[in-house]
Symmetry: none
Amino acid sequence: MTKPERSKSTARGAVSDKREAILRAAIAVFASKGYFNSKVADIASQAGIADGTVYLYFKSKDEILRSIFDAAMVEFISEGRRELENLISPADKIRKIAELHLERLGADRDLAVVFQVELRGSTKHMQEFSAAGFGEYLDIIRATIAEGQSSGDFRSDIKPIVAAKILYGSLDEMVTNWVLSSRQYPLAPMANEVLKIYFEGIKAR
Amino acid sequence: MTKPERSKSTARGAVSDKREAILRAAIAVFASKGYFNSKVADIASQAGIADGTVYLYFKSKDEILRSIFDAAMVEFISEGRRELENLISPADKIRKIAELHLERLGADRDLAVVFQVELRGSTKHMQEFSAAGFGEYLDIIRATIAEGQSSGDFRSDIKPIVAAKILYGSLDEMVTNWVLSSRQYPLAPMANEVLKIYFEGIKAR
Amino acid sequence: MTKPERSKSTARGAVSDKREAILRAAIAVFASKGYFNSKVADIASQAGIADGTVYLYFKSKDEILRSIFDAAMVEFISEGRRELENLISPADKIRKIAELHLERLGADRDLAVVFQVELRGSTKHMQEFSAAGFGEYLDIIRATIAEGQSSGDFRSDIKPIVAAKILYGSLDEMVTNWVLSSRQYPLAPMANEVLKIYFEGIKAR
Amino acid sequence: MTKPERSKSTARGAVSDKREAILRAAIAVFASKGYFNSKVADIASQAGIADGTVYLYFKSKDEILRSIFDAAMVEFISEGRRELENLISPADKIRKIAELHLERLGADRDLAVVFQVELRGSTKHMQEFSAAGFGEYLDIIRATIAEGQSSGDFRSDIKPIVAAKILYGSLDEMVTNWVLSSRQYPLAPMANEVLKIYFEGIKAR
DNA sequence: AATGAATGAGCATTCATTCAT
DNA sequence: TATGAATGAATGCTCATTCAT
């Protein structure tokens, strides 16, 4: 609140802001044309800066893509952990995960497009790509399922990792369909549709 | 067995063979480096032909990719329909669909890689891409679910299209994990794992 | 003289011709603007071909420069050895070396410019540059001086390598002056001017 | 010692110092990577200042190179004239010139590298480059030779300018070899080696 | 004077596609 | 049909220079 603080935060904010602006611009551009069809000049222009400026904040075009994934993954997971902290029941946790997944991506269509369209190619072909985030995410689901098995809420005759992949795959497919669809509809409500089936599939009887 | 006949059949066979060879080569090359990182020259070289020859069979690089998808989709669906013809019970049909899906892709890893990695980008960004095949595939599942609801085998309180997407998404995730995994394991057995959960999720009680 | 022969030589000639044309074009362009100020597009345009064609014959811009040096060095040295073969007296050999040096470069001004202007930078800063040719050239002179000392024609109280460098440096300076001069004068006659002094400097008394 | 005085002298000294620092930094950087491979940012960093500061002292990158040549030439020549003043005999003068030439460059390897490697290119291709200094230097040698001819010390049957170029070329070659050599040896003693031959070449008999 | 973030012109290289043979 | 040499448009990235602070 003092002058120095504001000044400092402004200065830092400036750097951060421009980096952020480039990432936002890149998400928009990648979403609309795909990573390989996007030119660095498109990103710069969308961000309202000169081409060369991009390289003051990122070492290369693919570092931009990587940064998009990394930043989103980190926030995605940390927000997820935070939200799950207060929940006790494994079923509630699973519900929360599904809701967060679709709310988050449903709230940022461009980011969703980039994730659904580019992530696999990057994971498979991009050198040194940190798929770590994704593995961590899947593991949170797996652990929650295992927890539900221990507590007697979920069936014990299924492999937690398989159940986790099924949930993830189901949610992912909702997102993909939403992303590829020309119709505009809210994504978040699909969580309940998925869970209505999923819970029956995994609950103990 | 006359000369003209042989010549004709040879000629046709040759055309078909070379076209096929190019597609096989492209699948291998795309699988190993990704569509955008693959050069037409790589494909030609892998197919054992000259660069220019590729253009006698395909109009452009992306037509090759399109052809890979189309050909696989057509065969996939026609084989699916043929196999489903003899089955009565909706549950048996669903099981057959799941098994075929994983058997087919599990039997051709390169093709699976190309599908999992490139399909979304093509659907989203490739001009005039015929996602028709995919829609048809999903619709077969949807119709089968609806059939099961009518017959009283499956729950009536779920939307068939949602249930269809969940099955597709689950299978798709199994394939993606298999494709991205460095470990080598058989994909087909995952069908049963998925169905063990899925059937509980959709069956009428 | 037969058809195949002509055809073959034509085919080979074509490749060789284009490579040669690129080298000639590059020599002209480098001579007029310097290596670093020359664009590959300039070379292509000067050679009457498309930009990309350059890369069918050379891997990079600096490989072109290297090739210019290598080709000239090889021919320079092999011609030198051939001409020296028939000469007995060390003094005659030295004279022939000086004459060839200036005749050769005096006959191809662009090549001379490139050599005088770019060679040192390349030797010093270009990775993996084969200065071998130059060392070999200097060694031929050194050996001839040593020979003259053995025969009693040249002074024994001087180091052959120093005498060799002095001759080379003197000739090199004549070329440099000629190359940088705006006046047009024949270079070859300078050989005699140099030798008039040089021989007095090294002859035995 | 008053404040204003100190401040003024400091200010002037500072200006001069910083300009000097930039030149020293540039010499080091150019010597190690060559003019065209050096970035202005490298020079600034080597000088311990910001990139932009370079432009407060020099109008452009090539003005820096020009300044290096000019400053060195001016000092080289003025020191040469000063040293020659007290000498009478043309032979002594020639000896002094040769000694100074090699001592000077031998004492500053980086400067020598820049001179040997970049000077020709600059003379040939750099717009408005003042080769004046070099011409003046050569003329001093020429005049001294002519003087020696008048005095009867040197042969009259040779052109002074040729004899001058031979001396210059010989010394230049010693420097070039020293600069390109990976071995470390003192350069100055080569003066005597050169003169041992050169004097015999030009002296009157 | 000093800074260093921003600029944007410039360029080597790649590669899908064509076409003469 | 088949070839593969030739094309030339396209683009990621660099870096000398500027200028607001």
